[in-house]
């Protein structure tokens, strides 16, 4: 098996960069660990779940989808290049890798999203098995696991009590990455460390079922009272994919941009007439939970939540989707009794 010393992840990144990969990895950035493009000298830190997911490297926060040259009242289209560099997403969390499989479905539902597909094809995803979890992690409640390999092209496993990593390719992209890593990896034996213990916090199937019949439940208002409508939960979420399309122009050029957006914001569904189908935070939270735990299941056959817990870690109101799901699960049990 291919192994490397635990403190040599940066060497692996350097080897991959030298082989032409853009390396995206968890790098300490002040008090936070952030998924970012690795630069020589940056220390890769796998000690905690990064604040952001790898979503932004496949689906940018802001992307030009059309460009026009403006001449007075006239305009003419200009070509738009989509950037899809060969990328190694190194030491991502298994919950992030799983999320990319969900997004593949959305971006290929009926219309194929060329930009997503190009970046996806150019990206090799290498999750690191979680050997520790915090109180916000809940992958095991939504069908995941700390050592899950959904969406993974290769996997890094902590071994020999944290002294080493095993790098195991899981497909052609992973094999190409191992080959590109070259001498940084050594052939040898190592014993994989046990994955983290992540307790199951709620019954996701029960949440899906409850959502089917409780669109107008008073619970939505109760659980959403702490929501400030800031949208942080959606921005850090690996599966949230809703977007806006807006134009920005100077006197000579206009770009049409696809920007991240979220159902948590009040303007999201506002009609120009003033009517808003989701007029309050309760209806927006309902949409958030329903989309992830009911609508996505109906339309794509899976949950749109991988249990990374980022939304709970970042929420300024102290809200947590796992807690909401737990309350739903409990409300359901109360009715059953």
């Amino acid at each position: 098996m291919k192994t490397l010393d635990a403190n040599k992840l940066s060497d692996l990144a350097a080897a991959l960069a030298a082989a032409g990969y853009r390396v995206v990895a968890p790098v300490r950035d002040g008090r936070e660990i952030r998924m970012q493009e690795w630069k020589p000298g940056a220390a890769i830190d796998t000690s905690a779940v990064p604040v952001n997911s790898i979503k932004e490297f496949l689906f940018p926060r802001c992307e030009v989808i059309a460009r026009y040259r403006l001449e007075g009242d006239d305009f003419s289209p200009e070509p738009v290049a989509t950037d899809a560099p060969k990328t190694a997403a190194l030491a991502v969390r298994p919950c992030d890798a799983a999320a990319m499989v969900m997004l593949d479905k959305v971006f290929n539902w009926e219309y194929k999203d060329d930009a997503w597909n190009a970046r996806r094809a150019a990206t090799t995803i290498v999750p690191v098995v979680c050997t520790a979890a915090d109180q916000d992690c809940f992958c095991t409640s939504v069908g995941g696991a700390p050592d899950a390999t959904a969406g993974a092209d290769a996997v890094l496993r902590s071994a020999d009590g944290g002294r080493k990593f095993i790098l195991q390719p899981l497909g052609p992209k992973g094999q190409a990455l191992v080959a590109a890593a070259g001498a940084v990896l050594s052939e040898g034996d190592a014993k994989a460390d046990p994955p983290a213990q992540v307790p199951v916090r709620f019954d996701a199937k029960a949440v899906t079922e409850w959502c089917g019949g409780n669109f107008e439940s008073p619970l939505w208002r109760e659980v959403s009272l702490a929501c400030l409508g800031c949208g942080a939960c959606a921005y850090c979420c690996p599966t949230c994919h809703c977007f806006d399309i807006q134009d920005e122009a100077t006197r000579t050029e206009s770009v049409r941009l696809r920007n991240w957006d979220t159902c948590g914001l009040s303007l999201f569904t506002l009609h120009s007439s003033g009517h808003n189908p989701r007029p309050d935070q309760a209806s927006r939270w309902r949409q958030r939970v329903m989309h992830k735990f009911r609508y996505f299941v109906e339309r794509f056959g899976g949950l749109a939540c991988t249990g990374c817990g980022r939304c709970a870690r970042l929420c300024p109101g102290g809200m947590a989707i796992a807690q909401v799901c737990k309350e739903i699960d409990e409300a359901r049990k109360a009715v059953v009794k």
Partner: protein, 281 residues
């Protein structure tokens, strides 16, 4: 490589007409023949598109002209925001962007030999008008055609020339109405709300398909009247609109429950509406 999904065609405005205060119609011709051919290969009546002005953005409207007229498309919209103001300010000879058609359509091929009843209110006539012309352009294939159209005031009636044309045709039964107080001294149509006038004129539901489009309040009071007249929910059609950005089922804002208006609609039957989470509309 570009994002083909969002690639717009360039359209030249060949005709612009004010229909009512702040309501304008643009007739658009495709600058490229390939774009025109691609559009009409797919376009069926009821589909929508995104119309835009670079620098202002894109807005979603139905295609207000029928697929039987293949040289141009038309859209009719109210000036309410940044994009619609920019579109309304464009003049004949200038260009706009367009992408589409998107969404599903009215199954008019299944309506051959049937009576068709159109019911529309205010600015909601455009999505119905494309079906009216589609049916009238193929008049022999359908039985009776009735149109009930109302607006708040006489000034708010859109397509006034076409209303006159439909009114003078022997093969169309047209009833126009304005809300009480919205009439002018020389108004010759009805005075009353659409649901009331519908109940008074009491069209037969036998072998008849009804299309309803209007503000939510009109729809709310019209549907029970149709039920009373004996229309089966599967024979009553409407077209929904929600705020949309992508038009292709990805941006996640037009959904009503798990139903995406852009992809699963915009055309729905009353039967389908009954199973939708209307509190999300």
């Amino acid at each position: 490589m570009t994002l083909a999904t969002y690639q717009s065609a360039i359209m030249k405005i060949v005709l612009a007409r004010d229909e009512a205060p702040d309501v304008r119609t643009l007739r658009l011709r495709f600058a490229e023949e390939a774009d025109r051919a691609r559009f009409f290969e797919k376009y069926r009546v009821g589909m929508f598109g995104l119309y835009g002005v670079p620098g202002a953005g894109e807005s979603t409207f139905c295609v207000a002209s029928p697929p039987t007229r293949t040289e141009y498309i038309e859209c009719t919209f109210r000036r309410t925001g940044r994009v619609t103001a920019a579109l309304a300010d464009r003049e004949v000879g200038q260009a706009v962007t367009f992408r589409g058609p998107y969404g599903n359509s009215f199954p008019i091929e299944a309506w051959k030999g049937k009576n068709i009843l159109f019911i529309a209110g205010g600015i909601a006539l455009p999505p119905i008008r494309s079906v009216i012309w589609n049916i009238l352009d193929r008049r022999k294939e359908f039985a009776d055609v009735s149109i009930l159209y109302g607006a708040r005031t006489v000034a708010d009636l859109v397509y006034k020339d076409e209303l006159a044309e439909w009114g003078s045709r022997q093969d169309v039964r047209l009833v126009t109405t304005v809300d009480p107080g919205g009439e002018t001294p020389d108004w010759k149509g009805q005075i009353g709300f659409v649901p009331t006038v519908l109940e008074q004129t009491a069209p037969s539901s036998a072998n008849t398909i009804a299309l309803v489009c209007g503000p939510p309040i009109m729809i709310k009071f019209t549907l029970p009247v149709l039920t009373k007249l004996g229309f089966a929910p599967k024979d009553v059609y409407t077209t929904l609109e929600n705020r949309m950005k992508c038009g292709v089922g990805q941006c996640g804002r037009c959904n009503v429950g798990s139903v995406y208006v852009c992809r699963d609609g915009p055309v729905f039957t009353l039967d389908q509406l009954k199973h939708m989470l209307t509190a999300d509309m």
